[in-house]
């Protein structure tokens, strides 16, 4: 049972949630709420936006300013929210398809702008809500309903994509490290710029069933066995890291000014 201060952030009247028993999304939601609680955030000044998919139903269960947008567009909505009222804490939760397929363009441009939004990508390597279709993070060879002979498209590394596009805080954890999830989400929210937190999670229902990870615990062990801390990974060869998840803080740059602060200077310049 979550702590009382965490429970205060829940709209328990809208439970039960839509997630399957054993889904990893609850671990991420709990970590995010612990992070918000420990930062002393005011739910009335906290916006949680999302797109479409299983992960994107999360804001509905959170008692704050919640914005369930259209598929792939949540970061563009969130950009309008943040630029319009920079005092708000804005967190955007997305799935892998939402973030890197239909919303890929908004994602790289939010990174480029370095706008003060914390983007949490819940990567379960599949489109779960629609029944298990291949996503841009489905591993080559994995079975999906739209890749019945195994996926052939090379997957995205969302963290590398974010770093390449200009995000200034990038971190990864898996649902096997709930404490680290909380820590990096907390840092992501505190970061004055665009932060990307990728959390590897699972869809045992739609992905696991077809890929030998049908029980929730199979997935927990899978991630636990394949997680490598960044400091250790830095000393490993690329082939040693094949199939591993490098976790921890992957990238941080405090020298880039946050977007809405830059726009405040535009206002100052235009007003003269």
């Amino acid at each position: 049972m979550p702590r009382e201060d965490v429970m205060k952030w829940l709209r328990s009247q809208f439970m039960p949630h839509i997630w399957c028993p054993g889904c990893g999304h609850g671990i991420i939601m709990h970590a995010m709420l612990r992070a918000l609680t420990s930062l002393g955030k005011d739910p009335g000044k906290t916006v949680i936006s999302s797109g479409i998919g299983c992960s994107s139903r999360m804001p509905g269960y959170i008692d704050s300013c919640t914005l369930h947008t259209a598929h792939g567009r949540s970061l563009a909505f969130a950009t309008g929210v943040k630029l319009s009222n920079p005092e708000l804490t804005v967190i955007d939760v997305m799935g892998d398809g939402d973030c890197s397929a239909i919303g890929g363009n908004h994602f790289i441009h939010a990174c480029r702008r370095n706008i003060g939004i914390c983007a949490i990508v819940m990567n379960n390597n599949i489109y779960g809500m629609t029944g298990g279709q291949a996503s841009p993070t489905t591993p080559i060879g994995a079975i999906a309903t739209t890749a019945p002979y195994g996926a052939v498209d090379p997957p995205f590394d969302i963290c590398r994509l974010a770093i390449g596009a200009g995000a200034t805080f990038v971190a990864r954890a898996t649902i096997a490290q709930p404490q680290m999830c909380e820590t990096i989400i907390k840092k992501g929210i505190q970061h004055d710029g665009f932060s990307v937190i990728e959390i590897m999670t699972h869809c045992h229902t739609q992905f696991g069933r077809k890929n030998k990870r049908g029980r929730p615990l199979d997935n927990f062990n899978y991630f636990k066995d394949r997680s490598v801390m960044k400091a250790k990974a830095d000393g490993m060869a690329p082939d040693e890291l094949d199939g591993k998840y490098v976790i921890g803080e992957l990238f941080f740059d405090s020298n880039v000014e946050e977007y809405t602060k830059k726009y405040d200077k535009v206002i100052e310049k235009a007003g003269r």
Partner: protein, 379 residues
């Protein structure tokens, strides 16, 4: 003090928006609407407003909706393919009941079509472009003055009815320069959205006031916690599969405008009292049509002109009343499409007289002489 300016239509739309209280613009460059974004980029920060050039047309409308939810009056503008791209999120605005203004400066299509040439091909897209049912409010300016005045009205309507409102301009009106009189700022009638009158713990975000079918709207950041979604939702804003809740929600978002359509519908009629031939046109075409009608009237012909100012809701009852009450034998409808407005007119007139559709799809504007010849054909 009112002041005179010599502006193009696109600038008048931007300035009308600003004077109506717009303080956010989310856009993407596209001909022939780009000047709206350019003026906004320059003018908004002077007033503490915010402009953002997004990565695409969808991003532009998404950011606009996000800004509106924080309480700012917000606007986006586009043309042709950009209007097609914005359709999904226009639907989001209708169902989530988010006020904002979306301008479409029409150009030739389909697809990339004629970026620099005029068309009126988006009449039906403006009405039915997004999937699902909703009420549409769309103003069609025919002069630079109207670009300004109708943008103010569009903001007022969007704030009043809590939904997106469209400006259906066109390339000719958008790029035409003419004299415009800007009213004194304090003489403008400005409508602001209804705010909740209950404290946050008693706020039910989509509970409509029975008097107007519209729920008061809180802003993110002012202490109210609420959920916004594009899913069909109940009064709590939470997704529902309950048939009665679904029916009530969708019926209400249509009724809130349709029940009050007579307060929204606007048109301009000239010479209709004694007309035997009536020309119905809107936007840039009405410039040519009015000149033709006035010229023939000066020669004693019984010709009139009817111009819908709100293209949606369409002035069908008003047009029918005019046709029934007068001696109109022929209605001629010149438009820069294959007869999109003609269908509405033919439906409205209910066979009271003969109707004639005149279409032009070559990227040019009807000349007054062409319209005179259409009138003479049936006279």
């Amino acid at each position: 003090m009112p002041r005179a300016e010599f502006w193009q239509g696109n600038k008048a739309i931007a300035m009308g928006g600003i004077d109506a209280g717009c303080r956010f613009f989310g856009g993407y460059p596209i001909t022939p609407s780009t000047e709206i974004a350019e003026v906004m980029a320059e003018e908004l920060p002077k007033l503490g407003g915010r402009f953002i050039q997004m990565e695409d047309e969808i991003g532009g409308i998404a950011a606009t909706i996000g800004a509106s939810i924080t309480g700012r009056k917000a606007m986006t503008g586009t043309s042709g393919p950009g209007f097609s791209l914005k359709q999904e999120l226009l639907g989001y605005g209708y169902i989530a009941e988010i006020p904002f203004v979306c301008v479409d400066v029409q150009r030739g299509g389909p697809s990339t079509g004629l970026p620099t040439k005029v068309s009126q091909g988006d009449v039906m897209q403006a009405r039915w472009g997004t999937h699902g049912d909703h009420a549409t409010i769309a103003y069609a300016p025919s002069s630079v003055q109207e670009c300004y005045d109708l943008t103010v009205k569009a903001f007022n309507a969007s704030e009043r009815f809590r939904q997106p409102v469209l400006i259906l301009s066109d390339e000719v009106v958008g790029h035409m320069r003419e004299r415009i009189v800007i009213p004194d700022a304090c003489s403008l009638e400005i409508t602001d959205r209804k705010k909740p009158s209950v404290p946050p713990d008693q706020f039910i975000p989509y509970l409509a006031d029975p008097c107007d079918d519209i729920p008061p709207m809180a802003s993110f950041g002012d202490g109210y916690h609420w959920h916004v979604t594009g899913l069909t939702s109940n009064d709590w804003g939470f997704p529902t599969n309950n048939a009665a809740d679904i029916d009530r929600k969708i019926t209400r978002i249509i009724d809130k405008v349709e029940k009050r359509r007579s307060e929204v519908v606007e048109y301009a009629a000239e010479g209709c009292e004694d007309a035997e031939i009536l020309v119905v046109s809107f936007g840039c075409v009405s410039r040519s049509a009015l000149r033709a009608v006035r010229e023939l009237r000066s020669r004693g012909a019984k010709v009139g002109h009817f111009r819908p100012i709100t293209i949606w809701p369409f002035a069908d009852r008003e047009l029918e009343d005019i046709v029934k009450a007068s001696r109109v034998k022929h209605v001629i409808v010149p438009e820069l499409n294959m007869g999109q407005m003609f269908l509405e007119i033919d439906r409205a007139i209910h066979g009271h007289c003969e109707t004639h559709s005149k279409t032009l799809l070559n990227g040019e504007l009807f000349k007054p002489a062409q319209i005179i010849s259409y009138i003479e054909e049936v006279a």
